[in-house]
């Protein structure tokens, strides 16, 4: 066995004379250098060998000879050649034993020689930076790798001193072992280049039992490759310094998992708040936090980690899941008002935090998002993440919240910092803005009616559980922070308004609303008016509608204070039934087509007497508090009724339903209302402004409603069966924009004409006789034609 070839010149002997087409890609000069040629000639009897394998052994040896002067060269080469001869025997026996073997090589690896070469040799006196420190002890040098060599000759040999199954090149396997193999896994790696005629490094001779697989079937393929370097990786240098590593990383690294700084708190560098910044707070324990505004995240449940951005009015609705009302009533902190405003103050200006941080560096580092989560001693059993952000110091502080603040701060001061004295100054700083609770606190009963709470101060701070009734009173339903600010000067005052309610034991979830409202200092709340557009309506803004009121000679529009009550559409209650309660109505928003309805349930027996009620109920449900004027623009003034369009009506139902009806049938009932709003874009094409040009309330024609006599409902025993009739209502917007009239100027008539006498001799005929010139022209034409035909 053994065709030894050098690393740069790969010789592939071949017998297929059919392959006369050789493509020698000569990118480099052929380095014709041969290693032990004597061995080559000696062992030339062998049928085939992968020259990869020979590649491996020789250069290793060569390199060993060249580089490792300290290594005993003779020993290495001797063992190497020894293994080579062994290989020959192995191979020959394998050839005889296993004719079916189709793999390319059955060569044993060079375990012995490889290991010897790779063992770190004592480094010679090449100077490195470390060599100065360790002069006496030779620093271990990495075993050198031969260039342009396939070093993984037997990658399937994973077990040292043990035979790997199906690994034919494993020297630990005996020939008998190999007979038990089903196939050989050696050399299952890919070829480096598809254009090679054969797998690289294979020597094929005539009487080989190995199969030769054509790797590609094009017209041309590569037999010799003179530029071998391109098939091998370059050998990288070892990285010894961090800078080197970073250079490598910068050059080669692809995006991977990275860790952003764990401190997600933005560094307080600003002199004043800007829109979108978090609003900083400081607790009575002098811990800096941010004003929180619970919001739904991946579910509808309240996520307490959310912060309220400065100057952006936010409105979140989220759910608190309560496992046990009796326990959660007193222990779930999110239900109590105190956690939303007590024991914390708003930092009016981030610059103040910087100042305090400069004077005492400890608290600034302890910045925590504590205010968002009320410090809780108990985690709700539902597994809310409420307590995640609470710090140990705060939970220990919790029982003392009812006591004075100085007590609370002193308890935490013990373990936290020796600079407790200076830290108390931040909370007690006069310029810190305390959050005032608005009075009277509003309560809402179970029917949805709001009233001023009749409760003691203590009841307002935390919910009270009534064990006999099984109710939990004074639970926070709504929290509204109203923050007054003065631009760059920061926050001047802060208020919080609560809406408290009552939950019963069967209610397992509680809907809470959190909102922030920002006001400029000096702004008068009663004068503020939120437009629906300026001037044209904007999509998803409520349609401005009111009623015309005439006083003496002047008339004006009466507009509801609540913009969501201007123009409304009925909605159903949770069971789908009609409610005439105005709270249940949905505001009509500009540009949004809507369809809604509810059910009126009637029973077969009371149908006739219920007729009137049905009718009245339907009318009130449909129209609600019907406006009669609609603003054309979002900026239309109430004092100028000319800017408002009159609401038109068709099929207006009579107030009272007509005559008595027959049994099981109601006649003349109106069950539908379709509101149609026509608008048109006006102004520039690039900046269209929507203007409402007309509104129609189109009622359905009065119809008879009757029980549909499908079998079950007509059975005598089921006369009390209910049947539901749909009262429906819809809103549609009609874009009546007049497309721009494109008036193009007429195509100009180009008045180009020759002078009147330009063809004078040809055009003037006297007395119907052609003149001489005309004759001349005719003759000329005839002659030229005749000539042409002759030529052809």
């Amino acid at each position: 066995m053994a065709n030894y070839s050098t690393q740069s010149d790969m010789r592939v002997t071949h017998i297929f004379s059919l392959f006369s087409l050789l493509v020698c890609i000569q990118l480099l000069e052929v380095v014709g250098q041969s290693t032990p040629s004597a061995i080559l000639s000696e062992n030339s009897t062998l049928s085939k060998i992968s020259s990869n394998e020979s590649n491996m052994s020789t250069p290793l040896l060569g390199d060993a000879e060249n580089n490792l002067s300290t290594t005993p060269t003779t020993l290495t080469s001797a063992s190497g050649s020894g293994s080579v001869t062994e290989k020959v025997d192995n191979n020959l026996t394998t050839v005889k034993a296993d004719n079916e073997s189709s793999t390319t090589q059955v060569t044993p690896t060079l375990n012995t020689s490889t290991q010897r070469v790779i063992t770190p040799a004592p480094k010679t006196a090449t100077t490195t930076s470390s060599s100065t420190t360790i002069m006496s002890i030779p620093t271990p040098t990495p075993s050198p790798l031969p260039a342009n060599t396939d070093i993984g000759q037997c990658t399937c040999d994973m077990t040292s001193a043990g035979c790997d199954v199906n690994c034919c090149c494993d020297t630990d396997c005996s020939d008998l072992d190999r007979q038990a193999f089903s196939y050989c896994t050696d050399h299952n790696y890919l070829t480096t280049n598809e254009r090679y005629c054969f797998r690289e490094g294979m020597i094929v001779t005539n009487n080989s039992e190995y199969k030769t697989n054509l790797t590609q079937d094009g017209l041309l393929c590569i037999m010799f490759d003179n530029y071998d370097e391109r098939n091998y990786y370059t050998i990288p240098d070892m990285i010894e310094t961090l800078e080197e590593f970073d250079t490598y990383k910068h050059l080669y690294a692809r995006p991977s998992y990275s860790f952003s700084s764990t401190n997600n708190q933005p560094e307080i560098v600003k002199q004043h708040y800007q829109a979108g910044d978090p609003v900083y707070t400081v607790s009575d324990a002098d811990v800096v936090g941010m004003l929180g505004l619970p919001a739904p995240l991946t579910t509808k449940q309240c996520d307490d980690g959310n912060t309220a951005p400065y100057l952006y009015d936010k409105d979140y609705e989220c759910v608190r899941l309560l496992a046990d009302v009796a326990m959660d009533c007193t222990q779930e902190v999110a239900l109590a008002t105190r956690v939303y405003y007590r024991d914390m103050k708003i930092v009016p200006n981030p610059a103040m935090l910087k100042r305090s941080a400069a004077s005492n560096p400890v608290p600034a580092k302890q910045t925590q998002n504590v205010t968002t989560t009320p410090p809780s001693t108990t985690t709700p059993p539902s597994g809310e993440s409420a307590s995640e952000a609470s710090s140990p110091s705060n939970s220990s502080d919790q029982p003392s919240t009812e006591t004075t603040t100085s007590n609370g701060s002193s308890t935490t001061a013990e373990g936290a910092s020796p600079t407790a004295l200076s830290r108390t100054t931040l909370y007690s700083n006069e310029s810190m803005v305390a959050i005032e609770m608005e009075t009277p606190v509003m309560c809402m009963n179970r029917l949805g009616v709001k009233y001023a709470c009749n409760a003691t101060e203590e009841e307002l701070q935390a919910p009270v559980y009534n064990s006999t009734a099984g109710t939990c009173s004074y639970v926070v339903l709504e929290v509204t922070y109203t923050i007054t600010h003065n631009g760059t000067e920061g926050i001047t005052s802060a208020r919080v308004a609560f809406l408290l309610g009552e939950i019963t034991s069967e209610k397992s979830s509680l809907l809470q609303t959190f909102r922030t409202v920002y006001r400029w200092a000096g702004e008068k709340e009663e004068e503020l008016f939120l437009r629906s557009g300026n001037p044209g309506y904007q999509v998803d803004q409520p349609i401005m509608a009111g009623k015309l009121v005439t006083k003496n000679t002047s008339s004006a529009i009466e507009l509801n204070q609540d913009r969501n009550s201007w123009m409304t559409l009925l909605t159903a209650d949770s069971k789908g039934l009609c409610v005439s309660n105005t709270l249940q109505r949905t505001p009509i928003k500009f540009g949004v087509n809507m369809r809604s309805g509810c059910l009126v349930e009637v029973m077969f027996t009371n149908m006739s007497e219920a007729c009137k009620l049905i009718h009245e109920g339907a009318i009130s449900a449909l129209a609600g508090d019907r406006p009669d004027r609609v603003a054309t623009f979002g900026t239309s003034l109430v004092a100028n009724p000319g800017d408002w369009v009159t609401v038109l009506e068709t099929n207006t139902p009579p107030e009272i339903v007509g005559s008595a009806t027959t049994e099981a049938k109601c006649s003349g009932v109106v069950l539908g209302l379709h509101i149609e709003i026509a608008y048109a874009n006006v102004g520039s094409l690039a900046n269209p402004q929507a203007k409402v040009v007309g509104v129609v309330y189109r009622y359905d024609k009065p119809q008879d409603i009757a029980f549909m006599c499908v079998a079950p409902y007509c059975q005598p025993g089921r006369l009390r069966a209910r049947q539901a009739f749909e009262v429906k209502s819809s809103v549609s917007f009609v874009d009546a924009s007049q497309p721009p009239y494109r008036a193009a100027a007429e195509i100009p008539i180009i008045d180009v004409h020759l002078p009147g006498d330009f063809f004078y001799p040809f055009l003037t005929a006297v007395g119907g006789r052609p003149r001489a010139a005309t004759w001349l022209l005719t003759v000329l034409l005839a002659v030229s034609l005749a000539r042409g035909s002759v030529c052809v």
Partner: protein, 307 residues
Amino acid sequence: MAVIQVYSHAIQQKYKASVCSKATFFQLCVFILTVVPPLIFAYKSQGFWLKLSSYVEQPDIRFKYQLLVILDTADDYLAWSTFQNFNSLQQSHIRIPLVKSREEDVNRDGKKDLLHFSLEMPVTDTEDIFALQLLLFFDYRLYKFSEFTMESMAYVHHSAMQSGAEYSTDGHLILVQRQPLAHRGVDSRYNNTSIDQESIFAEAYDFKRIFKEYNSRNVTTRYDADYSVWVRGRGSGMPFTITITVRYPEESVTYTPGFWQVMKDAWIQYLAVLIIFVLVFDRIKKYVFKNQLVTTIVDRRVKPHDT
């Protein structure tokens, strides 16, 4: 004195032979060899006749304001549709939602680009929603080649392990074509409703039947609701909300080209090959006749080459 060429013209040489002669036969053969092989070559190298082509057009899609929704609670269901007869059939399961929709023309080119759709179904606190099925109906039109009109459908469905508060999805209404359209004419084969609104029979609203009928069409639309979100944790008193954004993307429509487009395309291919054959055989003919390889009468008169 220098001489320059001031003018040149070709000289036409005529070779004459009788009809039944070798020369005539040779000329005929050469003519056939010039004309026919390019045709065979152009045909055999594939793509000679243009049978399929495509164009890009943004369809004119309008939401028809027709829908059908079914929500599954733990052991019951709620249903509603804009089809009155379906609602009558449902009776006790009917629950009327608040439906909002808005079609937006983002680039103001006169064609709607997306639909914002939301549906709020009032549900009691004990009714937990686990699954939903929703059918939306659209009017789909193409103008560029054939005037194609159809009623298409978007089917949104989701089912979850946990009861939800909200389902939200954002996707495209994609044209599914199993047959090329014609290159001209009016095509309203599929402009029929998938649901027979007039029917008072339950089977008219059977989803299996509706889908079977719809899928048997060669042109349909599909709504890809790949990016959907199921939000849990409905609070008491809150409705179940479905929010859907349907985008109307520009579509690549395949069509069968018309006669003249096919001819034009084939002619270009044929001509390109023919030119080479003409040039080659011209040389051959010149050689054959000049050297009298076939006998011809050479007209000795030399005349200027007139055309």
